[in-house]
Symmetry: C2
Subunit: 636 residues, 2 copies
């Protein structure tokens, strides 16, 4: 367990120093000659000049006749002029103007006579209805300057100007090397300890989106010489190299030594979080970036430290990052020592853009997938308070955010199905759902952060659900309670019920390992209530403090054998093929604030709730009862 000393270099300085070091070694764009017809989206290496004029000949701009304008001078309505067949030539749009002619008269403006002559009632001005040579592009004219992106119409202008090949900036090739004894190629039946190699696929997709090419090398085990050989190979074949994993200070860390032996290391350890153990190295003009193994750390490091190199190579403008002002829904605590990158979910509720921090670990790639933005907390700042106005770098477009139904509250897999149906019904609408439990949902609605909240809160006084909580938390009204579904709650236990659990009270048994839901969730409130009702001592239940955020994650713990029982809904047990001891049926409803009622998102949500397809889908999941979903539940 030896540690290598890590620096804590401020990110902006590290980025600048890295680019300057590389530029000093000659790092920068290479070019290639390609057919113009394939150049769309590519970046010109030099200014492009027309070789020929377009049109390259004087052409008729109309269907009609070509004449010598002088022959028509004097023609008027009252003094028409007749031209015999030798003095005009019929031609179509695009035809060349014949020698001796210098004007075109439109077909509509001539009268054809039986002897083959034509009569005209107005003089033709020289060069009328003629497309002059070079009207579009003149030979020698600059069609495109250097370092601009080729558009479809620019392709047309270049070909029209006789330019059939152009020199463009070659896409840089980024080599990606996954390392680690525990890393295996993607499969569907990994053994415990195996880690699926998916970083290479993420990083490839990222650099391709930025205009580079990617090549993923085979997984290299944690053997110094093998890693060194692969890095040497990748560096010889590619323009930039990502060496993945092995860059933390753990016991299998060879990255920094490999890069030092092959070239040099500028910095090891950047003041950023996640991503601190990044290594900025190179072999001459070829960057070798050591990237941490956790996917989110890797994504941030590549975005912050590799993308600027790709942008420099491709001469991309720096202005591609889009920011928007948003209101933080929860505080963000950040270390003073690091610049921190916090993933946030975002949504417009009313005209206000909200940003909710996603606070999970750097191993959780799905949290990055769900993020709509990145809050960049500068080094030296301790964070932000809830309600602070912050500037968030957008990952989703403003259009998408404006069309997103924001659901915050109790989790149920049916929300995902609802979101899917909503988007299928209207491609412009999206749903974003966050799982914070029923009470969390009520609080989010009170703070104006959501369009809807899933809620299943038992009033222990009368056994009714939700209504009493509406009255308590929204005493002045302003919300509607919408019937959604009835759900079967019960104990999930391993297949075959090996411990022979029969009733709720069995969770106190010696040796039974319970897994619970988080405080504030409806299921937790139900569980606490059941314990109280049955007189159980929760301190005596092993694992009562072990909290999971969703029904499915509780089920996952049981199926893996790390827990023996947990409360949850039938559909989760069914999904994981677990046994299920029914305890009660609860009402899972949706709270919708009045201010959101008329939004297209909520209108579509209600339409979907009331649809036959929803009913069918929900009943097929199992463990649900459906009675008039979408109906407004009276609160009086």
């Amino acid at each position: 367990m030896g540690f290598e000393y890590l620096t804590n270099m401020p990110l902006a300085k590290a980025r600048e120093d890295y680019l300057n070091l590389l530029k000093g070694y000659g790092f920068g764009p290479k070019t290639e000659l390609i057919p113009v017809s394939e150049a769309c989206g590519r970046v010109t290496a030099h200014a492009v000049y027309a070789h020929i004029c377009a049109p390259h000949y004087a052409a008729s701009a109309m269907d009609g006749v070509a004449v010598n304008a002088k022959d028509t001078f004097g023609a008027t309505e009252t003094t028409p002029i007749t031209l015999n067949e030798e003095r005009y030539i019929v031609l179509d749009t695009g035809d060349p103007i014949p020698d001796g002619c210098d004007a075109v008269i439109m077909v509509e403006d001539i009268v054809k006579n039986d002897d083959g002559s034509i009569t005209i009632h107005a003089a033709a001005a020289p060069w009328q209805h003629i497309r002059q040579i070079g009207e579009d592009v003149c030979a020698g004219e600059m069609i495109l300057p250097s370092h601009v992106t080729v558009s479809p119409s620019a392709i047309g202008a270049m070909i029209a100007g006789g330019v059939l090949e152009i020199e463009v900036i070659r896409k840089p090739l980024v080599g990606i090397i996954p390392t680690g004894d525990e890393i295996i190629p993607p499969c569907t039946d990994p053994k415990p300890g195996d880690i699926l190699e998916f970083n290479g696929s993420i990083f490839s997709a990222m650099v391709r989106q930025w205009g580079a090419e990617a090549r993923v090398y085979p997984i290299v085990p944690d053997k110094f010489e093998q890693i060194k050989a692969m890095v040497a190979k990748a560096t010889s074949e590619c323009d930039m190299v990502i060496l993945n994993a092995g860059s933390s200070a753990g016991r299998e860390d060879y990255s920094v030594k490999v890069i030092r032996q092959l070239g040099e290391v500028l910095y090891h350890g950047i003041a950023m979080k996640p991503g601190k153990p990044a290594i900025l190295g190179c072999q001459g003009a070829k960057p070798i970036l050591g990237v941490p193994g956790y996917p989110v750390s890797g994504i941030i490091v590549i975005e912050e430290l590799l993308r600027p190199l790709i942008d420099h190579w491709l001469k991309a403008p720096a202005a591609h990052r889009q920011y928007a002002a948003a209101t933080l829904t929860r505080p963000v605590v950040s270390g003073l020592k690091y610049e921190e990158f916090v993933r946030v979910r975002m949504g417009y509720v009313g005209s206000k853009l909200m940003a909710s921090p996603l606070s999970r670990g750097s191993g959780v790639v799905s949290s990055f997938m769900k993020a709509d933005g990145i809050l960049e907390v500068p080094q030296g700042l301790e964070g932000y308070e809830a309600g602070a106005e912050v500037n968030v770098r957008l990952l989703s477009s403003v259009d998408k955010l404006k069309n997103t139904l924001v659901v915050i509250g109790s989790h149920d897999p049916l929300l995902d199905e609802l979101g899917d149906m909503l988007h299928l019904e209207n491609n412009d609408l999206y749903m974003s759902s966050s799982h914070v439990g029923s009470m969390g949902g009520i609080m989010a609605i009170r703070r104006g952060e959501a369009h809807a909240a899933g809620c299943h809160l038992l009033d222990t006084a009368n056994g009714e659900y939700n209504v009493a909580f509406m009255k308590k938390y929204f005493p002045k009204g302003g919300v509607k309670l919408i019937r959604c579904v009835g759900r079967q709650q019960g104990l999930m236990v391993a297949k075959g019920n090996p411990l022979g659990i029969e009733a709720f009270a069995d969770i106190t048994r010696e040796g039974l390992r319970y897994v619970n839901r988080q405080k504030g969730s409806g299921t937790r409130i139900l569980t606490d209530y059941l314990c109280k009702r049955e007189g159980l001592d929760t301190a005596a239940i092993y694992g009562y403090d072990r909290e999971e955020l969703t029904h499915t994650s509780v089920a996952a713990q049981i199926v893996s054998g790390s827990a023996d029982a947990g409360m949850g809904i039938y559909s989760a047990a069914k999904l994981y093929d677990l046994d299920f001891i029914p305890i009660c049926i609860e009402e899972y409803d949706l709270i919708i604030p009045d201010h959101a009622w008329d939004t297209p998102q909520v209108a579509q949500l209600l339409k979907t709730l009331k649809s036959e397809e929803f009913k069918e889908k929900i009943l097929a999941l199992g463990g649900y009862t459906v009675d008039n979903p979408g109906q407004i539940i009276p609160l009086d």
Copy 2:
């Protein structure tokens, strides 16, 4: 010259009817199964569910030791607990939690003893520092809904969830058929009457940008049976077909008959300009779109009528068009009968976004290339007045527009070189230059539409350039006059000077065909002045009313033999290898309004003007003198 009757169907109705007709025949997305690692940017066909949990085993979240939490209960600073070698297991981040263990203690929190035991000073909570099964993704959980675009991190989440292949919407294949006897493959030495086939390359690039695939078929001559055979072939091979050209009512129009014989024609003739002769046809569920031959008409028709079909197929949100409010610099006159699409150049001068109509023909593809936006003038509207606030569909990004130096005024090829150098020096800056002559430039500056204007106006009273005009048109100041270059003006004549032209007065010669510059241009003012000084009757000069907008287009007319002489600058004559009779040296300067002085664009312009590279480049062009460019010329 027979005409087929064209309808004048309103565009919105035509678009809607077309999609509905096709949907009735089953038009819509087809799907394909692809590896997840290649799915970035593709659209999911169905919701994607995780097959396995990620992590799929309980894993250490830290480097440290795994223990059974119960063994540590009671440990505090004052009552440490020591665990012998059998009661802990050393492990690294990512290692599986061994059987019998349910907590991890960080390496920093343990004391290693000589006998191999460890001492701890705090109890471990069950499941501390353990990544729970399913922390990232739970088996059975929906990872992505239907019809959304796959992001790099979603690829990671899917592979982590054991999803290695997904069904995505297949990219529709668009077949493009160029037709016409006069159409030839791109080359650099076309004969008069030849038209280079570049529409296929433009249309391919467009549909690829929208997510489709393209296949361009060989050029088909104007033979009915050959066109019909090619359309039949393309329709059998592709999902959508573009039949290019032949859709006007000219004499070689077979398109509509071909489509009728193979399938049906919904509408022929749409109330749009350009693009009126478009044909909306199909063979069952396969659209066959007849597209006019002029490139700009074709671009507009494909954007307005094919893109909605591609979007429908790819389930793209409708919200991809970006609009911005802008002020029109010139009136736009539009026909009541059509919805009109007017290309505009745009720029921010101060905080105001300006839109200047580009008023050239639908054959001019370079005008589309130069356009920053499209003003959509609704059917039934006669147009807009200058100064009107209009909503413009953006082709350039707002960021780019904000960073663009807007130059309006007299044309000189050196402006293109300046723009190129400016962008090379700073990738974030661009130059847009419009050629409206020196007086047009002064007016543009007065109206606040430009950052700079090229100007070479002779004060016939004292032979000085520009200064007197500054005083006259900017009596209250507010502008600076910046020295740019001296330019050699003269008569451009054919190589070898076959007419033996010696002096300016020779342009009145019988039989000589003159080509002039537009009124308001500095060169025209100079020419008018020279005529007056030499007592020439301009009515007697053949072609004096034939106006071109640039020096190079004047040169192009002479080199093509359609004119014998025209005034212009030496660099244009040199570019076209023409003979040149020098007449005078004029001062070409730049007018810069004070409000633009501190913008990054103008700062960079001045830096570039003062650079050695600029001097070298300009002298290499020939016909210029350089004396302190970038210097402010005193106006008193």
